[in-house]
Amino acid sequence: MTRLRDALVGLRVVMAVAVALGLGSLLILVTGADPVKAYAALVHEALFDYWGLSNTIVKTSPILLASLAVMVPLRAGVYNIGGEGQIYMGGLFGTLASLHLPALPSMIAIPSALLCAMLGGALWAGIAGLLKAWRGINEVIVTLLMNYIAIHVVSFAVSGPMIASGAPYPYSDEIPEQYRLPLLMPQTDAHIGIIFGLVAAGMIAFIFARTATGLSLDIVGKSPRAARYAGLNVKAHIVASMASGGMLAGLAGGIEVLGLKYRLFHLFSPGYGFDGVVAAFIANANPAFAPLSALFLGALKSGASVMQRAAGVEGTVVDAIVGLVVILVAGSLAWKGDLLGGLIEGFRLKPTSADQVNPTERQS
């Protein structure tokens, strides 16, 4: 039963994505270009071209980790919209570690630098978790505000204290060789970061499904009062889940520096944290689906660059499509079958049948 429902939910998301792509082709038409050509170019570049594919993988890794960074706290009912800021903090801590730790062999150097990156993300997210748990401050607002602070902190760091000597732009020194991630595809930018993402997704899916910790998080998220009654420490779960999310986003920032950029740049993340929110949406907060939804976004972003050349379409159309996907997926989450009826009934107050409590509960 539930498996069937999951499948239907998945299908709904696929349909929402299809509709968004359809609307996107309208946008492309409006600008006078050929949508078929544009999409074909996008798909080819993103998935069927060696260099393009490597670029897709490079973009998929941080999005995947950032989407997991949303899913873990969400399991405990906490919204982490601060992935972007946590990525920046992860990048900062990872870079600092790589630049200041001694010259260790890679087998030790890389894990220690990445651990530092995770620590940075965890600390940053942990603040929001603490404020939520002990002061009841809305975590959405806090994480959103902290994104901006983190971005400016990194900006400050690379234009002041960490700036490379003689640098024309704000960026740090290059990190030493032994701190750089091995490549996945030779001659390209594609590094092994994606493996971290896949392993993390697998682990989290397992934790959610099979462990007492996963069940605890779920109970805290579904009913904090029942969780307290069950003897769970709700506040600790909120903080820990938030910090774990931050760890994952921090790791994304770390691999971005250690795997791709090799330096800390001002504005080094082009919004991967927010893409992670989108990917989590599309995957319906299910870590098993996260790799797919992250790949979808990674491919869109990587393919966007060629649309201009191949079909004369601004690559930003991809941003518009992503926005449409999000709205449509969000809408489809509430959709219980008959879409038009749903829209019309939406104006009246009608119960959504799947959310009804047992009818026998409705009587006197």
Binding site: R210, R225, A226, N358, T360, E361
Partner: protein, 505 residues
């Protein structure tokens, strides 16, 4: 033609038929009682009449005119007003604001002062005293109910639907309340009075309609019936109170609370130096009107809330500083909470998971952090059998079960954990007779095994049925303690409204 006619009303929720084919006609200026057990469909029927639910089939006529309500707004325009059991008032707004809410054009200035004067006149006319400028959250429950009634009268209700209105009142408040309702009726208002209390039917109604399982099973003029007949009609058979003769005398004290003090939601005193002792194999019943500190007392004993001062001992151990887990495992305190849906169960989880809600982090349910799904499933099957939980499978979400089956899950979990102390709060609320009997039997059986039980309920008759002693609570204090069978309901009622025995004369 009658003033109000409900013609063959049916209401289905999904596949469940909550009301089938109900026809009812009421004359103007009379009071009609709608009698039935919990779950008989009384409130559903009234919600249909007030436009909260739309009937699947059937029609409504008022004063010979067919009406169709898509929302309460429609019902109000047609002169139907409803007083809900759980009041529908915005607590942060004042009495006057609540009453004038939804009246007049959107752009009309509120002019609260003019309204206040009119409300004062109305409240004087019907003897419904309120404080117009106070925010609702500051008012006692009885006054809130008067606000609800004024709200409906103020918008010209000709038909007043009262849904279990006395369930929130103390016995002596009930008298004056019923008088007010009679006065309204004599003034020409048509009354529909939903209740499961037979004596109230006899006192207030001109006629009574009896419902059972979503159907109308009988209609009687009040002059041609009596309490015994109505009781049989309502339940469908003669009811005998549960009585299990106690096997042994109570043993040593197991739970001792001394001078517990606690504050409630808005910083008001919820518990004012409450002390109690329960012995092994004894049930201490706590009677009282909802919101007089019972919830706080229960939560403090099981560790969900910290007292401001006072101490709790379980057996020889001081447990005041311990958390929920420690009290559950170490002191073996079981707790059946009042809020079945939000606290006692996680509705979206399966029946099986709910059985292990308070034990899944430990062996044998989980080992090294991994959950043993097979154990959980087997245990669920066992418990469902023993407690007669009816469902398709242990994997069915708790949300889909009836209230009685949900309560059985909680009770099974708490009793089978082998407690020494069991706190039971509102165990029978909203259940049908069969489930009530079952729940009470299980609690009595636990007592006979030596469990010390604190049985808290607002339903006095149920407290009297199971308790060995009854303590009465009012405004965070015990106002008296009586033995069941040795005190009249009137005496307990006075204690419930805070009058000590000496003051009553």
């Amino acid at each position: 033609m009658s003033y109000l006619v409900l013609d063959r009303i049916s209401k289905r929720f999904g596949g469940f038929s909550a009301l089938s084919n109900i026809s009812l006609s009421v004359e103007r200026g009379t009071a009609r009682a709608v009698l039935g057990e919990n779950g008989a469909g009384k409130t559903t029927l009234m919600n249909v009449l007030f436009g909260l639910y739309r009937p699947t089939e059937g029609s409504i006529q008022i004063d010979g005119k067919a009406v169709s309500f898509r929302s309460p707004a429609d019902a109000i325009i047609n002169g139907v007003g409803m007083i809900h059991q759980h009041m529908h008032l915005a607590e942060a707004l004042t009495v006057t604001e609540n009453i004038v809410l939804g009246l007049g054009g959107l752009h009309s200035p509120l002019n609260l002062r003019r309204h206040s004067a009119k409300i004062a006149a109305l409240s004087e006319r019907y003897g419904l005293a309120v404080e117009p400028d106070q925010p609702v959250w500051k008012l006692p429950i009885g006054m809130r109910q008067r606000v609800e009634i004024l709200k409906m009268l103020y918008r010209g209700a000709k038909i007043l639907v009262l849904d279990e209105p006395t369930s929130v009142l103390a016995p002596n408040e009930i008298d004056s309340f019923l008088e007010r309702v009679k006065a309204l009726r004599d003034d020409g208002t048509t009354i529909l009075f939903v209740t499961h209390k037979l004596d109230e039917v006899m006192r207030i109604a001109d006629a009574v309609s009896v419902m059972r399982h979503g159907q109308l099973v009988a209609e009687r003029d009040i002059g041609h019936t009596d309490v015994r007949q109505l009781s049989r009609l309502m339940v469908g058979r003669d009811v005998e109170p549960v009585r299990i003769p106690r096997l042994a005398a109570p043993g040593d004290p197991v739970l001792e609370c001394v001078d517990l003090v606690a504050r409630g939601e808005r910083g008001l005193t919820a518990l004012d130096r409450v002390s109690l002792t329960i012995r092994q194999g004894e049930i201490l019943g706590v009677a009282g009107i909802d919101g007089n500190g019972q919830s706080e007392l229960a939560e403090i004993i099981c560790g969900l809330r910290k007292p401001e001062s006072g101490s709790i001992r379980a057996g020889a151990a001081e447990i005041t500083g311990l958390g929920v887990s420690a009290r559950m495992r170490g002191s073996r305190i079981g707790f059946v909470p009042e809020d079945r849906h939000g606290t006692g169960l996680v509705l979206d989880h399966s029946i099986a998971t709910n059985f292990v809600l308070r034990s899944f982090r430990r062996r044998p349910v989980s080992r090294l952090g991994l959950i043993n799904a097979r154990f959980i499933a087997e245990q669920a099957r066992r418990m469902m059998k023993r407690y007669d939980v009816r469902s398709r499978s242990p994997a069915q979400p708790a949300r889909e079960l009836s209230g009685g089956n949900q309560q059985k899950i909680i009770l099974a979990r708490e009793i089978e954990a082998g407690p020494e102390i069991l706190i039971v709060m509102q165990a029978t609320k909203g259940l049908d007779v069969g489930a009530i009997e079952f729940v009470q039997r299980k609690i009595l059986e636990a007592r006979d095994r030596g469990v010390a039980v604190l049985y808290i309920s607002t339903e006095l008759e149920h407290v009297a049925e199971v308790a060995d002693r009854i303590a009465v609570m009012h405004r965070g204090r015990f106002t008296g303690e009586v033995l069941p069978g040795q005190a009249t309901a009137e005496h307990i009622g006075l204690l419930m409204s805070g009058l000590s025995v000496g003051e009553q004369r």
